[in-house]
């Protein structure tokens, strides 16, 4: 599905994502990596580290819901993947982000900002593999998505 290029909205949204990452780092001293917060929120390694994680994760839909209500959701929302692909995709995202110690937020926004070699490598890897996956699905198999 074609979507319009929206650089201003992208920049504003990106600044807020950066602000949230900077904020969690400076106030709480923690990395705003959603997959790490999720994994350790479900299976905490240390005591007293679950509360802030659940709170941060709960903030995500609250903030998104607020923004969608106020802005009227100009970008819209469309999932065209069939249920089997949703399940496969969810499993791979769950396993992959835990095994690879991070996702778009932890490696992509925080890790690169720290200058972490692991995060730069991981981000290049998952971006490249994701682009290849989309190419194969859309342009080789012709699956509409």
């Amino acid at each position: 599905m074609d979507t319009p290029f929206t650089p201003i909205a992208g920049l504003v949204g990106g600044l807020l994502i950066g602000l949230a990452s900077a904020g969690l780092l400076l106030t709480n001293g923690r990395i705003a990596g959603v997959s790490g917060i999720l994994g350790r929120g479900l299976f905490p390694a240390a005591t007293g580290e679950r509360g802030w994680r659940i709170a941060f994760l709960a903030g995500l839909p609250l903030g998104a819901g607020l923004a969608i209500a106020v802005t009227g959701d100009p970008h819209g929302f469309a999932i065209t993947s069939r249920p089997a692909l949703l399940v496969a995709g969810g499993l791979l995202v769950g396993i992959g982000t835990q095994l690879g110690s991070g996702c778009t937020s932890g490696h992509g926004v925080c890790g690169i900002a720290r200058g972490s070699r692991r995060s730069v490598t991981a981000t290049v890897t998952f971006m490249t593999v994701a682009a290849i996956t989309v190419f194969v699905m859309r342009h080789v198999f012709g699956v509409p998505s």
Partner: protein, 148 residues
């Protein structure tokens, strides 16, 4: 206090995801579709995010503790191993199949979509599967090096 502040940053993060358009899987897939009708918006999202988080990490490096008093908990590993590369590759396949990564997925709970609920159930199962694998790997080291 820590949890309340974390919830606030989670909300700001969620607002940013929605405004950027990254909560729409179709828009994410259009970014990843480099050889199709490419929508480069996500590059602007990441660029702007890094423009803010970069200076924050530089500032944090000069401090002993975070503002609420905790020591910083930052990763220290520098090695590139098979888990990092394999995990990133598996995540990339899943992200490319649907257009959802963990942050936007959870933010989309605001929409009450059954597709999102199905994806989250599978994602949580994936998290649990890898946690089980890691626990099993710790309990039975394959190289025997810890058998002393």
């Amino acid at each position: 206090m820590r949890s309340a502040v974390a919830a606030l940053w989670g909300m700001v993060f969620g607002v940013g995801l929605a405004i950027s358009g990254m909560t729409n899987p179709a828009k994410v897939l259009a970014f990843l579709d480099v050889f199709g009708s490419w929508d480069p918006t996500l590059a602007f999202v990441m660029g702007a995010g890094l423009a803010v988080s970069g200076p924050a990490f530089a500032y944090a490096r000069r401090r002993e503790r975070a503002w609420l008093g905790d020591a910083f908990a930052l990763p220290t590993r520098q090695d590139l191993d098979a888990s990092l590369l394999g995990g990133a590759a598996l995540f990339g396949i899943g992200w490319g199949l649907v257009g959802l990564c963990p942050g936007p997925t959870l933010a989309n709970l605001a929409r009450g979509s059954t597709e999102i609920l199905l994806f989250i159930a599978a994602m949580l199962a994936g998290v649990a599967i890898d946690h089980g694998r890691a626990r099993w790997a710790r309990a039975s080291p394959s190289d025997g090096s810890s058998c002393t």
